[in-house]
């Protein structure tokens, strides 16, 4: 059985609590009455193989995968990219699903099979990424073969028009549209995963993604056009909270359960990372796979699969806190959805805090309007400009000029999108698409509009100022800043680990 998460109210006996700030780890003492949200423990080790076999033979609509295959058909398997599972899994469940899909297809005599990573505006995957996601068998079987590829949102020859909306041609991956059956494989660890939105944002053209999910975007016409043209089946693997083992067990263990070994490991890691170059921290976290418990596998129509997977996830992850907080506190791990390689930009860190962590409450925000967000991250300038070149330029050139999303969307976005330099970096050099950085900035706007103060502890003051945030040296200083607006005794909620948890406000 998995151990459910819970909200701990800090009392005199509560030990200092772990906080992550990029690759740095620290212990912080929270004031009495602070609610600390602990995610569930990953204990329920499901069997991905049998669960996948069961789901494929009995999907939600009763149409088995094997029954939809015939010899000579065009089958395309699409799968969520590396951003969907952070930190990376030691044994990625997508491998199990894809292997079973391919085995069934081979038994049915299907030869025309293509595998496409639904990367959308995120960086396109290389051979090592494919191997990590799909395992040695599949990646080696299709290595150096156009049958295993990443979606290219700027490749005109690989895109086909499926409709029009607001004068913009809706274009989608050609192979997906022309296939007899498309199976989309998702891993579900947060509310954003699975469903048409993941499918579209991973396989449409850059202009179409911008129309659907950009500033004032509307995904509805795109959803309708895609659902009309693509015969899609979804397979979603629902995963629980990742658990660390060995020398980094302290990252996921609750502080009062730390053994002497955990304490020594914490002290050693903290000292070592304080002296080591920033790349050492990235290597420690980005290269270290963790184990995920498999909570279930669902297959069937895209919408139904998303609903069923998200219902399972919410049931397993939900932690109830007492009332909306005045102050939301959270750390930012080194590896997260906006930085799957552990080399994310300050924009990605802000996205993790103000989009992901701020949105953990779903329709009911964890923190009240006019409240404050305190996050731990250096917002440093030492990130991969190879992966995040457009984000670096957005911070250095665009944000000093304007921060209003509407102005940015009209003045700067078209220039970045049309710049062949960025397009070439995206298509050939493993960089994120320039629109990705803009969309991250747009995603922050609801939280920026709702919060009175957004404070980053230990942050670079210039970067924080440019992004419209405030920087504090210590957590106490951050509370001091927030107290001018919220008083001396604000209600504080600290989300210890924003991976694998959802928060319900009672």
């Amino acid at each position: 059985m998995s151990r459910p998460g819970f909200a701990l109210e800090v009392d005199e006996r509560t030990p200092p609590t772990l906080v992550r700030s990029a690759s740095d780890v620290r212990l912080e003492r929270f004031s009495l009455g602070t609610q600390i949200v602990y995610p569930p423990d990953g204990q329920a080790w499901g069997d991905a193989v049998s669960a996948t076999a069961e789901a494929l033979s009995a999907p939600l609509d009763g149409r088995s995968f094997a029954g939809r295959l015939w010899s000579g058909m065009r089958l395309t398997i699409t799968f969520a990219d590396i951003s969907a599972l952070t930190p990376p899994a030691g044994d990625d469940p997508r491998r199990v699903v894809v292997e079973q899909l391919l085995t069934t297809a081979a038994e049915a005599g299907v030869d025309d099979v293509v595998l496409i990573a639904a990367t959308g505006l995120r960086r396109r995957l290389g051979p090592e990424d494919m191997r990590r996601l799909l395992g040695e068998r599949v990646s080696r079987s299709f290595a150096s073969d156009p049958r295993l590829t990443s979606h290219d949102a700027s490749d005109d020859s690989g895109l086909v028009t499926i409709g029009e909306s607001d004068g913009v041609q809706l274009r989608f991956n050609r192979r997906v549209v022309e296939s007899d059956l498309v199976v989309h494989v998702s891993v579900v660890t947060s509310p954003e995963h699975a469903g048409w939105d993941e499918f579209i944002s991973g396989l449409a053209s850059a202009e179409t993604i911008d129309l659907a999910y950009g500033w004032n975007g509307d995904p509805k016409p795109v959803r309708e056009a895609v659902a009309d043209r693509v015969d899609a089946m979804a397979v979603a693997v629902v995963l629980g909270q990742p658990s660390y083992h060995g020398p980094v067990r302290f990252l996921s263990a609750r502080e009062w359960e730390w053994s002497i070994k955990d304490q020594a490991a914490y002290l050693t890691s903290r000292r070592a990372l304080a002296s080591a170059p920033v790349q050492a921290g990235r290597y420690l976290y980005a290269a270290r796979p963790v184990a995920y418990p498999v909570l279930g596998v669902v297959a069937g129509p895209v919408d139904e699969v998303r609903d069923a997977a998200q219902a399972t996830l919410t049931y397993e992850q939900c932690v109830t806190v007492k009332g909306a907080a005045d102050v939301l506190v959270t750390g930012v791990p080194s590896v997260h959805a906006a930085a799957p390689d552990g080399d994310g930009s300050p924009l990605g860190a802000a996205w993790w805090v103000l989009h992901h962590a701020y949105g953990l409450g779903g329709a009911t925000p964890i923190v009240r309007d006019g409240g404050a967000v305190i996050a731990f991250h250096p917002l440093g300038d030492r990130f991969s400009t190879r992966h995040h070149g457009a984000a670096a330029d957005l911070i250095a050139e665009v944000l000093p000029e304007a921060s209003d999303p509407a102005e940015i969307a009209s003045r700067f976005l078209p220039r970045f999108a049309a710049d062949p330099w960025y397009t070439d970096l995206y298509r050939q050099r493993g960089a994120y698409h320039p629109l990705h950085a803009f969309h991250q900035w747009f995603d922050l706007q609801p939280a920026i509009a709702a919060m009175g103060d957004i404070i980053f502890v230990g942050a670079n003051r210039r970067t924080a100022e440019v992004m419209g945030f405030r920087a504090a040296t210590t957590y106490a200083d951050a509370l001091e800043i927030a107290s001018t607006r919220l008083g001396r005794r604000p209600a504080i909620t600290y989300v210890r680990d924003a991976v694998g948890v959802q928060v319900a406000v009672s």
């Binding site: 151990r3 459910p4 819970f6 909200a7 701990l8 109210e9 006996r13 509560t14 030990p15 200092p16 212990l27 423990d41 204990q43 080790w45 069997d47 991905a48 049998s50 030691g90 044994d91 199990v96 292997e99 081979a106 038994e107 030869d111 051979p127 191997r131 395992g135 040695e136 068998r137 599949v138 080696r140 079987s141 299709f142 290595a143 150096s144 658990s243 083992h245 060995g246 263990a253 009062w256 359960e257 053994s259 304490q263 914490y266 002290l267 903290r270 000292r271 304080a274 290269a287 184990a291 250095a396 944000l399 000093p400 000029e401 304007a402 921060s403 210039r462 924080a464 100022e465 440019v466």
Partner: protein, 270 residues
């Protein structure tokens, strides 16, 4: 319109970067130790917060299982042991006892195999009948090529059928590197790459059928090496298991960079 910033944070204001200073790795160490040791009681662990005492008893303590003995797949430990192990096909986390029937070619392969087998299988290599009846798994190894291999496989299948246990075929393939010459100077360590492939479980009451199926599955697992997994499952290649060749020759063929683009190129081929 250009935004206005505080003077101390204006991004357009270029200041000279501070010269790098030496970092004292012990700075703050005492504070860290004090924080870690807070509410720690020797022999009884840390004090528990009051809210934890109000939780149901089964939720107070974590019982962290390690489902797969993955130490060798840890990049740091793997580097120390000069081996990079990739395990495929091992996704079932059932604790049921089984007969692991492994194809190994050397003692080093066997050592890696023993590390990759999940601890929950409680595998033993001696007193096999008793172990199977007690719910422990057993490991049987052979090279699947020598004259005695058929007997070994047949006996393993017989045991599995008698105790109603599944047979799990396993193949260990090692991309060994040539031994390094001893040197007084520190040299970069080369790392062995080992693939441990687990096949699907075989369940049948007929031991002859189990043995035959075991040969087929091991052949397919080996064929993945010489061809690819997709070519094997889609029936594009026949099993080359019976193709007898010395271990060095198989290694030579497997490391051909023209044959296998996905794999890291080894130095054997110049």
């Amino acid at each position: 319109m250009t935004r206005e910033f505080a003077s101390w944070a204006d991004p357009r204001h270029t200041s000279r970067p501070r010269p790098p200073s030496l970092h004292n790795p012990l700075k703050g160490f005492v504070r860290d130790v004090t924080l870690v040791g807070r509410s720690w009681r020797w022999g009884r662990g840390a004090l528990r917060p009051g809210d934890v005492d109000r939780l149901p008893a089964q939720q107070r303590r974590a019982a962290l299982p390690v489902p797969v003995r993955a130490s060798l797949r840890d990049p740091f430990v793997g580097w120390l042991k000069r081996v990079k192990v990739e395990v495929t096909g091992l996704s079932s986390r059932s604790r049921e006892a089984r007969v692991a029937l492994a194809h190994v070619e050397s003692g080093a392969d066997l050592a890696v195999l023993l590390e990759s087998i999940p601890a929950s299988w409680k595998v033993v290599t001696t007193r096999i009948p008793k172990a199977l009846s007690q719910g422990r798994s057993v490991l049987v190894v052979t090279d699947f090529a020598s004259a005695a291999a058929s007997d070994v496989v047949a006996q393993a299948a017989q045991l599995a059928s008698r105790y109603g246990r599944p047979v799990v075929p396993v193949v260990v393939r090692r991309l060994a590197v040539s031994p390094q010459a001893p040197s007084r100077l520190p040299t970069p360590r080369t790392v062995d790459e080992v693939l441990v492939r687990y096949g699907d479980e075989i369940r049948d009451e007929n031991p002859v059928a189990v043995a035959q199926r075991a040969f087929d599955v091991v052949g397919d697992l080996l064929a993945e090496d010489d061809a690819t997994w997709w070519q094997v499952v889609s029936g594009q290649v026949s099993s080359p298991l019976v193709r007898s060749m010395p271990a060095w020759r198989r290694l030579w063929e497997r490391t051909d960079p023209d044959r296998d683009v996905a794999r890291t190129q080894r130095r054997i081929w110049r």
